[in-house]
Symmetry: D2
Amino acid sequence: MTTDILKIADKTFKSRLFTGTGKFSSANNMREAIIASESELVTVALKRVDLENESDDMLVHLSDNQINLLPNTSGVRTAKEAVFAAELAREALQTNWVKLEIHPDPKYLLPDPIETLKAAEELVKLGFVVMPYIHADPVLCKRLEDVGVQCVMPLGAPIGSNKGIKTLEFLEIIIEQSNVPVIVDAGIGAPSHAAFAMELGADAVLINTAIAVSQNPVDMGIAFKMAVEAGRMAYNAKLAPIKNQAEASSPLTAFLNDLN
Amino acid sequence: MTTDILKIADKTFKSRLFTGTGKFSSANNMREAIIASESELVTVALKRVDLENESDDMLVHLSDNQINLLPNTSGVRTAKEAVFAAELAREALQTNWVKLEIHPDPKYLLPDPIETLKAAEELVKLGFVVMPYIHADPVLCKRLEDVGVQCVMPLGAPIGSNKGIKTLEFLEIIIEQSNVPVIVDAGIGAPSHAAFAMELGADAVLINTAIAVSQNPVDMGIAFKMAVEAGRMAYNAKLAPIKNQAEASSPLTAFLNDLN
Amino acid sequence: MTTDILKIADKTFKSRLFTGTGKFSSANNMREAIIASESELVTVALKRVDLENESDDMLVHLSDNQINLLPNTSGVRTAKEAVFAAELAREALQTNWVKLEIHPDPKYLLPDPIETLKAAEELVKLGFVVMPYIHADPVLCKRLEDVGVQCVMPLGAPIGSNKGIKTLEFLEIIIEQSNVPVIVDAGIGAPSHAAFAMELGADAVLINTAIAVSQNPVDMGIAFKMAVEAGRMAYNAKLAPIKNQAEASSPLTAFLNDLN
Amino acid sequence: MTTDILKIADKTFKSRLFTGTGKFSSANNMREAIIASESELVTVALKRVDLENESDDMLVHLSDNQINLLPNTSGVRTAKEAVFAAELAREALQTNWVKLEIHPDPKYLLPDPIETLKAAEELVKLGFVVMPYIHADPVLCKRLEDVGVQCVMPLGAPIGSNKGIKTLEFLEIIIEQSNVPVIVDAGIGAPSHAAFAMELGADAVLINTAIAVSQNPVDMGIAFKMAVEAGRMAYNAKLAPIKNQAEASSPLTAFLNDLN
């Protein structure tokens, strides 16, 4: 298993659990849960970064633990806004990685496929490592790959819903066809969901709400860490096939002869 | 978490993963996978025990690792046969624990509720610790509890099917109503299924086929171990609620003002 | 299709939709919905029958429409009570048909397998046509068949839940193995659920709550009638197989040549 | 129910079942099944139309039965090709209606969101009534609505898979947000699936494979017709709510007093 390393662009990851920083009840809870989860890539909304203050506590602390920060463009509604936000983030956080999120609808926060492809194309040209959050749309995934994104991040269910992997039939096609890592983002609400995504062959998962709003975010972070490892290990070891019938049991055994 | 110990009758268990010994490609694979899984209770078919030979290698080896053997009555079709088998097992393995399995149909190996209740009642009177394998039938679970079984073992799906938790609505009722530990037995085919059962509040799971027929039983044993721990930890930390709508995001943030 | 008639004991049914009389907002609503549904077998709780009053309006009206009344034993908790109730019903309603329901738990009203088998055996001996409401337990179904019941009535989901067919894996086995008609009872909450049960090969369905508590019971009765017919017709016409891949489309066609 | 009419652009439809003409074993089977289904809108691949021969039998026959033909652009891979195909179809079939299908991938035939939006915008400007086949992507649906399509046709599952409504969570959002009719297209494999889509509030469904490859396409056409009507009627009558617990039954009734 020592070689089962995830690579995105120029970075390698031992952990296949990516996390987020929103919705925690305190910054302290957030830090502790993320560290306990052993996540190595943590997304942070640009709007939550104190752009003026170089010593933003949250960021300093996470960086000290060798956790990579991944700015996201949450809050933008168009490709143009997304590119602008990505450039601000690059300057503020000294990283050319960006999680591209464009969701015009404030109720469900679902991603816009058209603006996302347009922004991805431009950001790639501008030298960004682009990680786009998208619907589980296999054709869109291929088009994003064609313009040079470094991974795709299809959703499992509406963001924040905690409903789990509701896009199974489409994730399977995406995983089958993709030449870049597939990271299931949004909708995962329980460790069992994360394990399931990994068993399907996803390369990683991103979890935020499910850890942040748990009654015990530290333990939930650990639980997700274990579930992701379990799912990945099971994927590599190959699951037993699903059957409609029990295997014929051995003929009735000798020990019953004494009785009958 | 140090106090989250499972107790059945007079025994305590740190691990909530119970395993079986059937269908492995070799005795060696079986031993290694079980030890890797850290399971502390392993069920063994009486028909697989060499009743004449006190030094049955399989059993000696597992016992040396402080793993409890749980003889099962697999192969019997009636209460009478089950009681006879349990008594043979008690003598052979020096244990009064028995996994009660009565399945008259050789195709699906589904349990007989009538004979199981009858045998359970008698075995309890004979001093056995009875662990009955049953359909996920909440009324039957209560009746078994009434006659003194030490736990109930409802199925998640037909045995050997690897289909997962297909009896969700009934397991929830069983878990809500039970005064004895609830152990999900049969049908669990992937670590995600095991994690899900634990998230529901099951006290333990029993896995056999899914580990035994994997291409890498040792890794699969470890994967199930982690998944069970993850699911239990998540159950204790409380899962985030399922929602139909994303939480209203914060109002559009200042950083976009520069753009518009 | 003219020969696709359901036969139970000595009666034949053109309609495969059985209904119930509980939970309607008025007796009039009940009558109209049942007549609109074209159901030919309607179950009625013995406790709702006015045993003293020979001209109970509800019953008279339904009988006038050539609808068969099927007394049920709802409210009893043991085999002994069930037999007593069945005998009262036989006398009151002049029918030896009985829907056998024994559910000791007042919260979920789930059936007791042990008492049900015991009562079924005795009622068959007493000359009743016994229609037992049970868990979707394939072994119990076979045992009931062995004692002479005229059909089995496994549940689709907890009664009154409207959750649909949650016992799919077990209904499939029951339908495969049964030599008596299989009628899915309890849990069906929408016409789509009823159609699905029929597509699986169930011989009939029994619907009560879903019609009774609808805002428009008459239309809902018609909707269920159509859905049951649709599901049965699809079962006979054979459904198309489930596939993981689209059929290869024809090679690109001539008309595009003008463009490229 | 007399006013429950579906309107798209300038046409009204009594039937909410739209059908297709592909994959039937013979033209005769196709005609008979479609007529039996009472479908009033039938999609036909442009590549199947004999553009040279004005008296194409298939089309003449369907037109004689007052069935509207809906040419589709199946086989095209880009917006440019789609527009060209739509114009050919307009000329050949004398209709400005077009089902817009752009699927570059020949294996799964999944639609391209980017090209579809681009083509939709242009076709609307050219005076077409545009009915786009798309992923169940709520944001894309709104964008298509914004450019003037007359309905949206999100998929239920991969086309030809017969898997049913696998995009439930997204269809619910689409139906909630849409100002144009929502027609579930692709993936529906059984009458129960069609009924379910209608119960959710879809305005219509389009079925092709499931009728065409059935062993009895005529009966399957009738089955779908009834299921669609049942689902629509249930939607209007309002389904009973899903519950986790049975309604408390009435206290034990008088008739048991005689026994106890």
